[in-house]
């Protein structure tokens, strides 16, 4: 699934809301939980990706300011 971090986060929030419902049955709970773990992984990966890009930019920024003058 290709989605934005926000979309994934919204999906995750929805799943958590459903899991928080005490009336949910076990099969549904397991299925939703698995889905939530999957979406959570997507979120985590997207965050890591962003973190890398930012770190990279920070490096580049430092490089370019060194080159100045």
């Amino acid at each position: 699934m290709d989605c934005t971090f926000e979309e994934a986060l919204v999906q995750l929030e929805g799943l958590v809301d459903e899991l928080e419902n005490k009336d949910i049955n076990l099969e549904e709970a397991i299925s939703k939980y698995n889905e939530a773990l999957r979406v959570s992984k997507i979120c985590y990966e997207k965050l890591n990706e962003a973190k890398l890009i930012i770190a990279n930019m920070e490096e580049k920024g430092a490089d370019s300011s060194d080159k100045e003058d």
Binding site: E6, L12, L15, A29, C43, E58, E68
Partner: protein, 438 residues
């Protein structure tokens, strides 16, 4: 014939002798205005002039002789000797005494014009320079140090700047019209964002061009902001006052227009840093939000629900088993009791067989078992009805009675004596009686 030609030295020496022996020139009193004033090795070098003419002047070792700081434009009273400087063949006045003679005439005119223009608002028009200057109009002489200083400074600081040079006569009679013409041309061309009018240092007279009303008007009318860079730091001209910005020297003017590059770079760095920080903040905010949800999720594992379900299931199973067992036990007890009763009252074999087969029934099949029990119960009630017929009370209903004495059932007449009080039990009640005779 040869003797008729003098050497320069001979001539200059002769003239010097003439000057030095003239009793009037040995000590003269002179008044005029100082210009081209210079100080070198404790000596003043300057010119003294009136409206039409001038004479060179020198004052050696001035310090003990003077009580003020002379400058161009000062009207002064001088005492001294006029003589020849042989080496150059120039005559000059060697000043021995100098005092101020009021404010110089030209300076007075300058002050008057300044006041007038100020009153008319010419000095109030100060437009900000564009934040980034890439196109510069330059009104100055095409040759000389000033243009070089400006170009060097700009190339060093902001090499990409485009400079439009308007070669201009900056001194003398033609200067005023040349400057005005080029200010107008720059405005017509519309190539420049800023105009610099630049000129190196000079005497008050040299700079007088920039004290004219004509140039002041041209600068004031310029649609393009003007930076005035006339003379040295101490020189002030009308042009400086009217311009949007006045700077001390041409080099400073070049720095001012190219300083923006440094500011721009700082601004870019600042914005870069800001953008980066904002992006970082967004990232951390998203991360925080995600972690909050992830934490929530970790607490919502169905494991607990599973364990809870297991527990509930086990509890239900246990209860079920217990209930089932107790039902079976109950039925079994009932059954055993029945058997006992039946045994006691000699029930027929058929019933016993039924009972025995009942015992052998598969306990796992509750429904079948229950049916058997029901059957058994039915049989039991049938048996009970039979038993009822065998009940002693039923016999008494046919007229028999039971006789009791002192609570004991009397089974033989021999057990009673005369006057014994007996109790006769009928089916429907009892009476007391006494024995009359044996």
């Amino acid at each position: 014939m040869e003797n008729r030609y003098l050497t320069v030295s001979a001539l200059n020496k002769y003239l010097k002798l003439k000057f030095d022996t003239d009793k009037f020139l040995i000590h003269i009193y002179l008044k005029g205005e100082i210009s081209d004033f210079k100080i070198s090795n404790n000596n003043y070098y300057f010119s003294v002039k009136d409206n039409q003419m001038r004479i060179k002047a020198i004052m050696f070792d001035y310090a003990p002789k003077i009580s003020f700081q002379p400058k161009n434009g000062d009207k002064v009273l001088l005492e001294g000797q006029v003589t020849i400087y042989e080496a150059l063949g120039v005559y000059q006045i060697y000043v021995s005494k100098m005092t101020l003679d009021g404010i110089g005439e030209q300076f007075l005119q300058f002050e008057q014009l300044k006041k007038e223009l100020d009153r008319r608002g010419f000095f109030a028009k100060k437009r900000p320079l564009p934040p980034v200057i890439t196109h510069l109009g330059l009104i100055t002489s095409a040759t000389g140090a000033v243009i070089q200083d400006i170009i060097n400074t700009i190339n060093r600081r902001c090499p990409l700047m485009k400079i439009f040079l308007y070669p201009t006569i900056m001194q003398g009679e033609k200067a005023v019209s040349s400057v005005i013409k080029n200010i107008m041309r720059a405005n017509e061309d519309r190539l420049s964002q800023v105009i610099i009018i630049a000129r190196g240092g000079g005497s008050f007279e040299d700079l007088a061009v920039f004290n004219t009303k004509e140039i002041a008007l041209a600068v004031y009318d310029s649609q393009i902001p003007v930076i005035s860079a006339i003379g040295h730091e101490t020189d002030v001209t009308i042009c400086d006052f009217v311009a949007d910005m006045r700077v001390a020297t041409p080099t400073v003017a070049a720095e001012v227009v190219s300083r923006n590059k440094e500011e721009l770079r700082k601004r870019i760095s600042f914005l870069e840093e800001k953008i980066f920080q904002i992006q970082k903040n967004i990232f951390y905010e998203k991360k925080r939000k995600f972690e909050e949800i992830a934490n929530k999720l970790s607490r919502l594992s169905p494991n607990e629900k599973f364990l809870n379900s297991c527990y509930r299931f086990q509890k239900a199973e246990t209860t079920l088993n217990k209930n089932f067992k107790s039902i079976i036990n109950l039925k079994e007890i009932m059954h055993q009791n029945l058997l006992k009763i039946l045994d006691k009252i000699n029930l027929n074999e058929n019933i016993i067989i039924k009972g025995t087969s009942l015992l052998a029934l598969n306990k796992r099949s509750f429904e079948i078992y229950n049916k058997k029990i029901t059957d058994l119960e039915n049989s039991f009630f049938i048996s009970l009805a039979k038993l009822k017929n065998l009940n002693p009370l039923k016999v008494m209903e046919r007229g028999f009675a039971i006789v009791k004495h002192n609570g004991m059932t009397i089974k033989s007449a021999n057990n009673l004596k005369n006057n014994d009080v007996i109790e006769i039990n009928f089916a429907d009640g009892k009476k007391k009686a006494s024995i009359l005779e044996e």
